[in-house]
Each structure stands twice: as structure tokens, then as C-alpha cells.
Amino acid sequence: MCTARRRSPWLFHMNSGSCNGCDIEIVAALSPRYDAEQLGVLLQGSPRHADILCVTGPVTRKAVGAVKTVYDQVPGPKAVIAIGSCPATTNVFIDSRTLEGPLDKHVPVDVYVPGCPPRPDAIIQGVAKAAEILAKRGNNPQNAEPVVTFVGEVQP
């Protein structure tokens, strides 16, 4: 079961007000050059089918409710990846009054993929890390606490 969880991460991509940069890089990660399907990654159309929620963008006021709803719709065990600097810190849009970010105010975030935008290889690495977390987490409610990791951090 752990192996299956690690080897089959299905994503649901959600744009919470991003500038498109990260979203296009997610799509590029599926393209022939990077081909995330090698890791079993599939982009799913419905959040109910997904394991990992990929959020881009600084979470605008209009998007907050939708982020929470979609997070609740993803069946457990689940993980959340914040792709790009926007969901992590709201980036250059900091102190805009129409933003409700950063993302971790609203849903627990497991993996941060920093960059503006991150490169597709970093995104794939983030997905791989999230899949590891997912495999460890399982259906055990005690493991539901977010495991905060960063792509690109130096392993001790």
C-alpha cells in the first residue's frame, strides 16, 4: 500500500490567483521534456480523484472559499503542495488588501516549492516529496499534521 501511494500521485491543480507562470510550468512538467507520468503522476479533472492538491497563487479573497472546499473534497490521505513563492509568502503582492494569503493560513501545507516560478524539475521533485509524505501518512489520523518540507533544501 505504501509503495502504491508513493508510486501513484494524482494531482489536482488549483489556481488561487496566480500569474499563470507556475500553472504553465506545471503543464510543462507533464510535457515530453519532463514527463512526470514516469512517476505515475496524473493530472485529474475532479478533486475527488486526487491525492495531492497543487495550489499556485497568493490566495485572493475570492479564492479562499474555493481552496477550502476543494481541500475538503480531496479524499484522504492527502497532501498539499504550495507551488511558487506566492502561496508561501504572497510574494510581490504582499500587503494587497484583496489577498487572504499566504496559503498556510487556510489549509495545512506539506511541501513548499519556492521559485517565481519554480522550474518544472523542481515541481516534479516537490510532487515526489509529497508522494513520500503520503506514503508515510497513510490513513492514520495521527499523522495528519503537515510535514513542512522545502524543495531544494539541503539534506542534513
Binding site: M1, A4, E37, G40, R48, P77
Partner: protein, 304 residues
């Protein structure tokens, strides 16, 4: 045919024990070959298996009431119907069967798509309903060609027994029927260019939108088994009649593999058609095949 052989057929070969790995294998072949055509590496060999196991371990949304029970039931019915259809296939020579098992096979083959339609409507999501409506329209149009093809083959032989049909020597009529079945398979299996009931760009995941976890895993399995059954039907009709069991099994697998590849190439090379184009396509097909099949069936009866 004894009970034991019947059970063995249903459960072992070509039934569940064989069909489940075969289903995963075919799903993998389809994904991998499409990926290779797109100059990608594609998923690893065990991928559909991992997907299935992972989905089994996921939570399913709580459902209550009669609607919830129905929603749980549909995927199970679909899986059993598809598995039954696979079990009926006369892969091995002289393995039995009964008069009229062809009709049962057709019914079982049709059941999964009926389940999909029902499941879409019972999930009460607008996208699932549109998906179901499309599936229904599509299934009405392709089934006529599908049934005509099989009935004309059967009528020319005065039998509805599968094994008799499988042992049929290759005649032009048989090839015509096989061609008609091949035309219908993409629609039956929801692959391009007839993937519109689950067109995720328009209606999320179609009838499956509300499904999750183990129920979705059952749908995936039913889909895989449909692959095996549909492709297997073609294989049994085309395969030459041999008495050695192992050779027959090998030929069956080889032909199935070839058909899967053929369908994948088609899926990779086409865009999705809109519903009216698809229906128009199948009605045009119907007309051509109906005239050809019925007339040749009648002719053959007169000659024989």
C-alpha cells in the same frame, strides 16, 4: 460442461485471475504506447496496479440513503458484469458453453455502460448528468452497429453459440463483422475520438466526477475488464481454430495485444469528436454495415 469448469472459466482463465492482470496490462499498454507516440517515456509497468491499490486505500465520501447505496452498487455491478463477459469468452477450444451464450455475452458487455449512465444520474452532479446523457446518446448509436455486426455473423451460422462462432473459418462476412466491432470499440471503451462522456476539459470527469477511493478503483477495474472483454471478443472471432490449449491461449493474447495497440494508435492520432459528429458517424456506419451485413447474411443462408 461441469460446474467446476464453469467456475474455473469464470474465476481463473479467462476469468478474474487472468483478466485482472490482463486488464492492468492492457491499460498500461494503452498509456505506454500513447506516451511513446508522444515521445515520452510513459508510466512504469506496474502503474495501473499501483493506481488500483492506492485507490482501494483511499477514503470514500460518506453516502447515506438509497441514493448512496445505489452509488455504491453501480461499480460492483459493472465489475461483475464485465468479469462475467470475460469469463464467457470461448478462448480455449471445446471448453463448453451453452446454446445462446452469445446473447448473454452481449447483455453483459452492455451492462457496464448502463451502470455508468445510472451512476452518473444517481450522483446528482450536473457534470455527471451531462456525461451520462452523452454516454446514453453514444451508446444508443454505436450499439446498433455492434449488435448488427454480431447478429449478422450469428445469423449466417444459424447459431448463437459463441464457440461455434469462434470456430468459424475466416469468411468475408466474418471480417466485415470484426471491422464493425472494431469501429465500435473506441466508443465502448471511451477512448479518442469518442471519449466525450468523460471529456474532462468540458465536464470534469463525466459520470465519475463524484466517485472517489475504492468505488473509483472498481470503476477503473470495470474499465480494464471491458478492455479485456471487448478486445477478447475480437480475438476469439479472428483467432484460427487450434486444439492445443497453450497455443490457443497464446494466440488469444497476441491478437488482443495487437488490437490494443491498434486502438491506442487511433486514440493518439485523433481529437475528440463532439457528440453530434460522433452520433452522425455511427449512424452513417450503421447504414453501411446494416446493408452489407444483412444482405450478405441472407445471401449466405440461401447458398448454404
Amino acid at each position: 460442461m461441469t460446474l467446476i469448469t464453469a467456475l474455473a472459466r469464470l474465476l481463473i482463465f479467462p476469468g478474474l485471475v487472468f483478466a485482472m492482470p490482463a486488464a492492468w496490462f492492457f491499460l498500461w499498454v494503452e498509456r505506454k504506447s500513447v506516451a511513446l507516440m508522444q515521445e515520452r517515456v510513459g508510466p512504469p509497468f506496474m502503474q495501473p496496479f499501483f493506481d488500483f491499490v492506492k485507490l482501494l486505500g483511499k477514503e470514500t465520501p460518506p453516502r447515506t440513503g438509497i441514493g448512496g447505496m445505489l452509488m455504491r452498487a453501480w461499480p460492483l455491478i459493472a465489475v461483475s458484469a464485465a468479469a462475467g463477459a470475460v469469463g464467457l469468452l470461448p478462448v480455449l477450444p471445446s471448453s463448453g458453453g451453452f446454446q445462446g451464450d452469445l446473447i448473454l455475452l452481449l447483455a453483459l458487455l452492455e451492462l457496464p455502460s448502463v451502470c455508468i449512465i445510472a451512476a452518473g444520474f444517481s450522483s446528482r452532479s450536473i457534470f455527471a448528468e451531462i456525461g451520462s446523457a452523452r454516454e446514453a446518446a453514444l451508446s444508443v448509436s454505436y450499439n446498433i452497429v455492434f449488435l448488427l455486426a454480431i447478429v449478422s455473423i450469428a445469423a449466417s451460422q444459424h447459431t448463437f453459440r459463441l464457440e461455434a462462432l469462434a470456430a468459424l473459418p475466416a469468411t468475408p462476412l466474418l471480417w466485415l463483422g470484426v471491422a464493425a466491432i472494431l469501429v465500435c470499440l473506441p466508443a465502448k471503451l471511451h477512448i479518442n475520438p469518442f471519449s466525450l462522456p468523460n471529456a474532462e476539459q468540458e465536464i470534469y470527469a463525466g459520470p465519475m466526477t463524484e466517485y472517489a477511493g475504492a468505488e473509483l478503483a472498481m470503476w477503473e477495474l470495470a474499465h480494464g475488464l471491458e478492455w479485456v472483454a471487448g478486445v477478447g471478443l475480437v480475438a476469439t472471432l479472428v483467432a484460427p481454430h487450434v486444439h492445443a490449449v497453450w497455443i490457443a491461449a497464446c494466440i488469444f493474447i497476441a491478437i488482443s495485444f495487437a488490437v490494443v495497440l491498434l486502438l491506442s494508435v487511433l486514440a493518439a492520432a485523433t481529437a475528440r469528436l463532439a457528440i453530434d459528429s460522433s452520433v452522425r458517424f455511427y449512424w452513417q456506419c450503421t447504414l453501411i454495415f446494416a446493408v452489407l451485413a444483412i444482405s450478405s447474411a441472407i445471401l449466405m443462408r440461401f447458398w448454404s
